[in-house]
């Protein structure tokens, strides 16, 4: 029987299609988390008020921010989940090597992030509708043009994608050595604690500012893509010698 020659990119595409079908479970968790996020957002994400004599007022801010934060966490956890053995071994039942498996995972996470970005946009509107029904007098701060909507969805997707890359690296570290699941939270919490000791959160603040203050979409894409590809690259290098069903 003659040998078959295969092309890596071809296999990546096949695996990507396979994963879209077989990782459906992550989208049902997305919906549940989204409903939770809408529920939490109903109280408003910020509030201010005041009074003078017999007159008092209260202003609630409603935004999709909380939904985005929840989706970022979702992305982080989803990425960790697909680095676990159960998911990695599914690949090995068919044609694969480590690299094609990673690339199809990244492609899957990009699509999942964009999809989650879209749902952030949609559900933040859903809950504005709910607040309307609840008889809150509301003022829409942002009116959206189609271009703004597209930008918003891509931006949200990018932030979620950044978190998938962190999750992927964390997941791979844990797969490499279970001790990381114990030490990584300690390091993170410890670093936050040390960072906030002098009542000004310097490092974490500047890290988040680096990403959040970016108003140009093209620059944001470059910033997030370069950082997340760095994380993914590191995860790929880490897993190079990993065995299957050892």
């Amino acid at each position: 029987m003659s040998l078959v020659e295969v092309n890596s990119w071809d296999i990546v595409k096949k695996q990507y299609r396979y994963k879209l079908k077989s990782y459906l479970g992550v989208f049902s968790s997305l919906i549940i988390i989204q409903v939770l996020a809408i529920f939490f957002s109903l109280n408003g994400t910020g509030m201010s008020g005041g009074s003078s004599g017999t007159f008092s007022y209260k202003v609630n801010y409603y935004s999709g921010d909380l939904i985005l934060v929840f989706m970022m966490l979702w992305g982080f956890i989803t990425a960790i989940i697909i680095t676990t053995k159960a998911y990695r071994y599914d690949d090995t039942s068919f044609v694969t090597n480590r690299l094609t498996s990673h690339f199809s995972n990244i492609l899957f996470l990009i699509s999942a992030s964009l999809f989650a970005g879209l749902t952030v946009f949609l559900s933040s509107h859903l809950f504005r509708l709910i607040t309307n029904i609840m008889n809150v007098d509301s003022i829409m701060v942002n009116e959206h043009t189609p271009l703004q909507i597209a930008k918003g969805i891509i931006g949200a997707g990018l932030y979620i994608f950044l978190f998938t890359s962190i999750g992927y690296l964390v997941g791979m570290l844990i797969q490499k050595n279970k001790l990381f699941s114990f030490f990584l939270p300690i390091v993170l919490v410890g670093a936050m604690y040390l960072d906030g000791m002098n009542n000004d959160v310097l490092i974490f603040h500047s890290i988040s500012l680096y990403f959040l203050s970016e108003t140009l979409l093209s620059l944001l894409i470059i910033k997030i893509m370069s950082v997340s590809l760095l994380f993914y690259g590191f995860a790929i290098i880490l897993s190079a010698r990993m065995e299957v069903r050892a």
């Binding site: 029987m1 040998l3 078959v4 020659e5 077989s22 050892a246």
Partner: protein
Amino acid sequence: MKVVECKNLTKQYGRVKAVNDLTFTLAENKITGLVGRNGAGKTTLLKMIAGYLHHNSGNIQVFSENPFNNLKVSANTIFIDNSMSFSPALTLGQLLETAGEFYVNWDKNLANRLFKYFSLNPDQSHVNLSKGNKSTFNMIIGLAAHCPLTIFDEPTSGMDAGTRKDFYRALLKDYIAHPRTIILSSHLLEEIEDILEDILLIKNGEKLLHISVAELKEYAIGITGKTDRINQWLSNRERIFTHEIGNDDSYVVIKNECSSSELEEAREIGMRISQVSTEDICMHLTSKSKGGIDHVFSRG
């Protein structure tokens, strides 16, 4: 062409050598049986060939390439065992379709016919199958993939007798129609010896024998008779197996190297010479001690 070539191959788990200094080659389009006791290193060896595990020392080549993490080897090899995992989100029918996308030589017709014959339900999920049906489904994938190197690691575990027979028959028929290199590991040699051409016998990760089945059938003879006479006649000959029958009779298995005059002499002094089945030869060769399980109880 050599499909698999191992040279001084060693794989360690901690300090234990699961595969130890193994050297052998498998030629193209042959069915080889990998035989050994539990823990002999069969699965470790097969996983190294399939590219799942990397070796510690020595050299392994599959299709003249290092199989570990190798896409070409993965595309031309299929490794079937009972811990294959498939996504629970897909039904069996969808899994067959997916397999068809990945494996270029996939025989859709064969897969569907086997699937129907074993009356599997295309809407079921792989995780909900019984152990035997899981093995059956994996076997269908293994056969229909028509990979130039097809590896079955204990493929029949959990299958009932009827399904096992059907599987071996299907394997043989498909092999004749589409000759390819097949490695079959099992500890039930009796069942598979009819379809095997070669046997690779390993013990404690080391190679004991790599010969054809025909040669293995002639490998040893059994001698029954009075213990003292046997001892006298055998003198320094190496015994593969000794078993005492009653107080003064013995059954001894030795390598089949005696000349016909020697055997004639043995018959004259009242010993019976018998054939030893391949299953017994392998069992005796790989047994932990020469006395067998009786030894454990005789020390009292």
